[in-house]
Amino acid sequence: MKLTIRRGGGLAGMVAQTELDDRSLPKTDAEAFAGEVARANLHEQPEPAAAKPWPDAQLYEILLEAAGPPISVHYTDETLPESVRLLVAWVDGRPERVESIEQ
């Protein structure tokens, strides 16, 4: 299972990508990762964005590649559900994550 978080827009307008592959994790951590992903309910549609987007809000694309077809979901700082925010924070805290800035 691989999760890719792409963040763009925001005050800086930069595009950054963070990847985490469960094969890079110790077994118990891989299970925790699966739990975080399950709790994030990536299948669920995010709440609709407002008529006026928040200036400088970050834009998120979260891509989950596991068994079955990949799932890609888009959010903004405004619509990012709490469960997904926690998943992103969890991935950001893993030393095994791979980061890049797209240029």
Binding site: G8, A12, A16, W54, D92, Q103
Partner: protein, 359 residues
């Protein structure tokens, strides 16, 4: 408890109930609920509810909170305590007039908001974002190692930075970034530029223009002395020196895609893809940014006195939500002639010619 006190207490319905009425009620209920929300003392600390109403009802912020002006509270700083949106604004940690606290981010947000307030008051005789003394609310320590700062339609929000893109503590350190965010509030309450493609790039550019002017004003810098950088020294050094350069768009950091001329306009779709930045709003803002810096340099002196005043007048009185580059450019030329003389008008016109927007 006195009779009056009790009645006052009973008069305040829970904000969430009013919020529901404001969203679900009939027209009369909605208006009454919004009015009650806006005037209730409790709501002054309930910016999360205000923000939600603002989004759900698409109400003008000024209509909603024009009622809540409190001259004793020019600005307030909250601590989001590394939570996220659901905990906005957070815990109130410094009120207007209170001395500095231990937390540097709180004091930086306080000082930056205060300097921005004073700039708009002293230079343009504007009393806060709405022109009527609206309290400036900021939340610091938003989220965990959050690499962003934004305006949510009701307040400023600052993350701590992760040390991977923004330096830890960098987002509140830069006065032009704070003024940039606050100017988004002014734009929302005046021109209302739609945050997409060209109108969005104009929205971004006005925030950079006044962000830079607040910094120049605080340093008493002439146009020639200004660095024309936005967010100087807040990125990790490996990425670059700043977020944007108004005088040399595209040179602020490695990977900076900003054009300085219409020939290099980056036509991106506005489709939620993080790579497309709402249709390139932080990218193509380089073009109007460049025009401003060129006009300011051509005229010399303090940029806020002439070119700044022209841009401010255009933002607050001439533009519409869907204004495009050419309309904004022509408006600045017209206003330059109204406010000043042919010299200023020529300088502004030439700047827009130089960036390929006017011919």
């Amino acid at each position: 408890m006195s009779r009056n006190h009790r009645r006052a207490q009973c008069g305040i319905a829970p904000p969430d109930l009013l919020g529901r009425l404001a969203v679900e009620g009939d027209a009369q209920q909605r208006e009454a609920a919004v009015r009650a929300l806006a005037t209730s003392a409790a709501i002054r600390s309930q910016r999360a509810v205000m923000g939600r109403l603002n989004r759900q009802l698409n109400l003008n912020l000024g209509q909603m909170i024009g009622f809540t002006v409190n001259p004793d509270r020019r600005l307030t700083i909250y601590d989001n305590q590394t939570n996220g949106r659901t905990f906005l604004p957070g815990v109130r940690v410094r009120d207007w007039g209170q001395p500095p606290v231990q937390d540097e981010a709180v004091n930086q947000a306080y000082d930056g908001s205060s300097a921005t307030y004073e700039f708009y008051r002293d230079v343009f005789a504007r009393n806060s974002l709405d022109g009527a003394g609206l309290e400036l609310v900021s939340s610091v320590h938003y989220g965990v190692a959050f690499d962003n700062a934004f305006w949510d339609g009701a307040q400023m929000v600052y993350g701590d930075g992760s040390g991977r893109i923004f330096q830890v503590g960098g987002l509140t350190r830069s006065l032009d970034v704070i003024a940039h965010e606050l100017t988004h509030g002014i734009t929302e309450l005046t021109a209302g530029l739609v945050y997409s493609k060209q109108s969005g790039a104009l929205n971004e550019s006005f925030s950079d223009v006044f962000g830079s002017l607040v910094k120049q004003y605080s340093l008493k810098q002439s146009a020639a002395d200004a660095d024309w950088l936005i967010g100087e020294g807040i990125l990790v050094p490996a990425l670059g020196k700043a977020l944007r350069s108004m005088i040399n768009p595209g040179t602020a950091y490695s990977g900076d895609r900003q054009p300085g001329h219409m020939d290099d306009y980056v036509d991106l779709p506005d489709n939620n893809d993080p790579r497309n930045d709402n249709g390139g709003v932080h990218i193509n803002s380089g073009i109007p940014n460049h025009a401003f810096a060129l006009a300011a340099n051509a005229l010399g002196g303090f940029a806020w006195e002439k070119v700044g005043k022209i841009w401010y007048t255009v933002l607050t009185t001439r533009l519409r939500p869907n204004s495009q580059f050419d309309e904004a450019a022509q408006a600045t030329v017209d206003v330059a002639g109204t406010l000043f003389s042919a010299t200023e008008q020529d300088a502004v016109h030439n700047a827009w010619k130089e960036v390929g927007v006017l011919s």
